[in-house]
Amino acid sequence: MKPRYLIIGMGAAGVSAAEAIRDASAEAEITLIGDERVGFYSRPGLAYYLTQEIPEKHLFPFGKEDFQRLRLQILHARVVDIAPQEHYVTLHDGRKLAYDRLLIATGASAAQPSLPNTKKLQGIVKLDNYADAQDIRKLSRRARAAVVIGGGITALEIVEGLQENGVKTHYFLRGERYWGNVLDEAESRIIENRLKEEGVDIHYHTEAEEILEKRGKVVGVRTKAGQQIKCSIVAYAIGIRPRIKLAESIGLQIERGILVNEFMQSSIPDIFAAGDVAQVFDPYSGQYVIDSLWGPARLQGRAAGLAMIGEGVPYHKGVPFNVTRLAGLTTTIIGQVGSGADKDLVGIARGDSETWRQLPDAIACQQSFDINHLRLQIGNQRILGSIVMGDQTLSQPLRHLIARKANITSIKDSLLMPQAPIADLIAAFWAEWRKDHEI
């Protein structure tokens, strides 16, 4: 009998796994189950659907033909139960589907704030999925003002989306600046100033105490300091929680997510996990971590697919790497950059547009940014981490230098001089280094 592969979750991880299985086997019977009506779409793209940079129909990376080519059986359904001994899953409508190998790629969902009312009222939104984005777009047609709660990327994306739709947006920050555990003060201020220029009202040291309502609808927020702000939308993005309910119910080993080995295999050998729901080993920190990023979800999905079909190659999590766009500035975050004191850190080098230039070999990147900023976390012999904002010419070189722990002793002192032309120094160093390392 043909082996049956069942995948729960039609996101980046699930679809990549299906692709990998099909690449490896023409016969495999692959079933992909997703509970979202619209199927596979770009979850990060939702932010640009909100800002109206892309129309709805462009959210979908795969067309019908693409799925036909992969010959998948696709089911719009919710898996409510797994029978690991008997090898089948149960769907919301009672149907049962048998499998030989199962992948759990159920992703993560937004954490709920601990405010009363957050579930029931009209006007309370998050940005997890397609339906949420639709909700926000719909609500913002009528809304005058909104309050956004949360300190990371998704919160900022909601802020930008609302503001772009003409909704006056109040952005609540618990602390004294934006994303203080990753950005340094200058970087936070760059972002905040750009938001303010767009008309966003940033409230520092501010937390919501109560959501005010009238006839089931949001009409305002009262802060802990007692201030009242009128609004008809309250959006929150305060973190995510892996969807581990199914895994829990069958006793898989779990911490925050499903613990998997380097073949994405859970504590039950024929059940695998990948993407936002999986917790993988991180050789840098020596701990099991959740990546919750699109790129790693794809790689993990692929690794899981290959492992399920018996052609596994170990998945090794790379150096931390996140690309985003903050208030219009493309930003790459590589390696260790946080405020938590790194014992190897010997200094920080910063540079701005004046010291920028083109890399010696002919490539042309995006470069129409009004602000370009570079930060290097410098250790004894190597660069520990970096933030690249605006012009991205150096982000690929830096990723290599950081991941491969390139010895930068020869330029270390120059990098740490005041007003050092750090972009030039890195570009020149890279040009030499890559020759020796065949990149």
Partner: protein, 94 residues
């Protein structure tokens, strides 16, 4: 930026645009579709970014719309070297 740097940069950029083709760094891409949506001749740049292949489409105008609008800095122009250019021509004729 100093004037010298600026001029040097403009020259390399123009060379890269004229002779180059769009190359994705897939690991940065989030499949948002902004590139494909903005390509004036409808090249599905996003698919190139998914599979990690350069846009070797003869019709590409090297207009840079996709490169400039991508919110993740996935795309850049890289100059083809002569060897590659020959190779592409052979492939195109097939």
């Amino acid at each position: 930026m100093t004037l010298r740097n600026y001029l040097r940069r403009e020259t390399t950029r123009r060379q890269a645009l004229v002779k180059g083709y769009v190359v994705p760094d897939s690991s940065r891409c989030v499949q948002c579709g902004i590139c494909s949506y903005n390509c004036p001749i409808g090249i599905d740049v996003r698919r190139h970014a998914w599979v990690g292949s350069p846009v070797k489409d003869n019709h590409c105008l090297t207009c840079g719309e996709c490169v400039d609008r991508c919110p993740r800095g996935v795309l850049q122009f890289e100059r083809t070297n002569i060897f590659d250019e020959k190779k592409f021509k052979l492939e195109d004729k097939k």
